[in-house]
Symmetry: C2
Subunit: 233 residues, 2 copies
DNA sequence: GTTCATATTTTGATTAGTCAAAATAAATCC
DNA sequence: GGATTTATTTTGACTAATCAAAATATGAAC
């Protein structure tokens, strides 16, 4: 029932309210959607009439539970579609965001469930972005970034939080994808430069800004050092 | 670039002009698109301005070669998507038309090509509708229907030309799908009734109107009767 | 407590797509 | 040939979504 436009508004409100108190400013929403602020004010009032958001004039906007549910469904479609495009159709991870931006509005809930099953119920998309569960649960785990994690510590990339083609192509070129193991060799705050050391010993320089877009978790101990491997049952 | 609306207009003009001289009446197009005739007149003039159709006032409308090319791409997307939904996601063939009606406007040419390869370059969709080739060739082979083919003759269903859920569910229930072998046991023009005999001897009654929607070709000789089987090379 | 800068809202206009209903052209029938 | 039926076109109005630019509110700075 909801138009593509409405779905996009809700999805952007959801993404922008992640980690905050939930109130999203008109300005932030406008630039996120690439429309002028006046348009957002008008649309948000319409969404509020429809019961999908709560609008606090001159304060911001917030999803209602109905709006949040719809937004989560759209986000789930987006990320499952991206996963399908990369895992099944072997598309470049830098290209799938734009595709999914259209497809998220065109697939039914039935197709969504079948894609989910085909892909084996994945919990993250090719960029490491968490996929909302069918019941609307969205992981909000907080990770360190390459700009903040301790130097020398072995870490594994879990997520790249940046959709732009250019950034993703650069990251792929330098083997910076979810699953990659590495450590921060050096961090120079003055120069705004981070140097990474990859598994093979290769080093990669990265701006601090770029490093902040790459989320990592502590490297799990490799198998031969693991104290008590679980028996396969 | 073209909106979903424009794509739908072009696709419907293409389908309605199949087999005719190419001129489609405003009235036919309006009922096919489920809009009022005045809307069609307005839109067709806009399409003509855009060079996608030629409008002969009070006569009809016809695709230009650019419009025909676009229409064929949309049709190709529609039918490949249907094939994907049935063959890969195992959806019911009665449900996929509505899904494809949306998806045909959301998938890129790149995704189209990858789907085509994944499916093994099929030439017909689950209903037997021919899939336009990547170079815009659309098979226009003429087939007999169950309403016209000789009684007693063993035939094989090649296509079911009717998108409605109800009809397709009925056809599935009675095992009337592309590939099925059968023959017309009896045709009673007065009663408007056709009786089919399936392989297992089971008979199925069918209205003449419904029989006309089912296209067939002469049954190929079964292997044991074939005079000169080609060697597998 | 004014003044200023900034974000937000309002106003007026535009585009795509649609419908209802009136006007018009064309074909058909006597 | 004139009247009638039918399809098409025109006209006027409406909705969703947008922008440009003017008006307004709010918090910060002086
Ligand atoms: Mn989108
Ligand atoms: Mn993603
Ligand atoms: Mn369509
Ligand atoms: Mn089909």
């Amino acid at each position: 029932m909801a138009s593509s436009t409405v779905e996009n508004y809700l999805k952007h409100i959801l993404l922008l309210s992640e980690g905050t108190d939930g109130l999203v400013s008109m300005g932030a929403l406008a630039s996120s959607l690439a429309v002028v602020p006046g348009t957002v004010t008008t649309m948000v009032k319409a969404l509020a009439d429809g019961g999908l958001v709560a609008h606090r004039p001159r304060q911001g906007v917030q999803l209602t539970s109905e709006g949040r549910h719809l937004a989560l469904t759209v986000l789930r479609k987006h990320r499952l579609v991206e996963t399908f495009l990369v895992n099944v159709l072997k598309m470049d991870w830098a290209a799938v965001h734009d595709e999914a931006e259209q497809l998220e509005h065109a697939i039914s809930d039935d197709v969504l469930d079948r894609l989910d099953a085909l892909l084996g119920h994945p919990t993250a998309d090719p960029h490491g972005d968490p996929i909302p569960s069918r019941h609307g649960k969205l992981s909000s785990q907080v990770y360190a970034t390459l700009a903040t994690c301790a130097a020398g510590r072995p870490v594994r990339i879990v997520r790249v939080t940046e959709q732009s083609k250019e950034f993703l192509q650069f990251a792929e070129q330098n083997g910076l994808q979810p699953g990659t193991s590495l450590s921060v060799a050096d961090r120079n705050l003055t120069a705004g430069l981070v140097t990474l050391r990859k598994a093979a010993g290769r080093t990669v320089p990265l701006s601090l800004a770029a490093a902040g877009k790459i989320l990592v978790e502590p490297e799990k101990q490799s198998a031969r050092f693991r104290p008590k491997p679980e028996p396969c049952s």
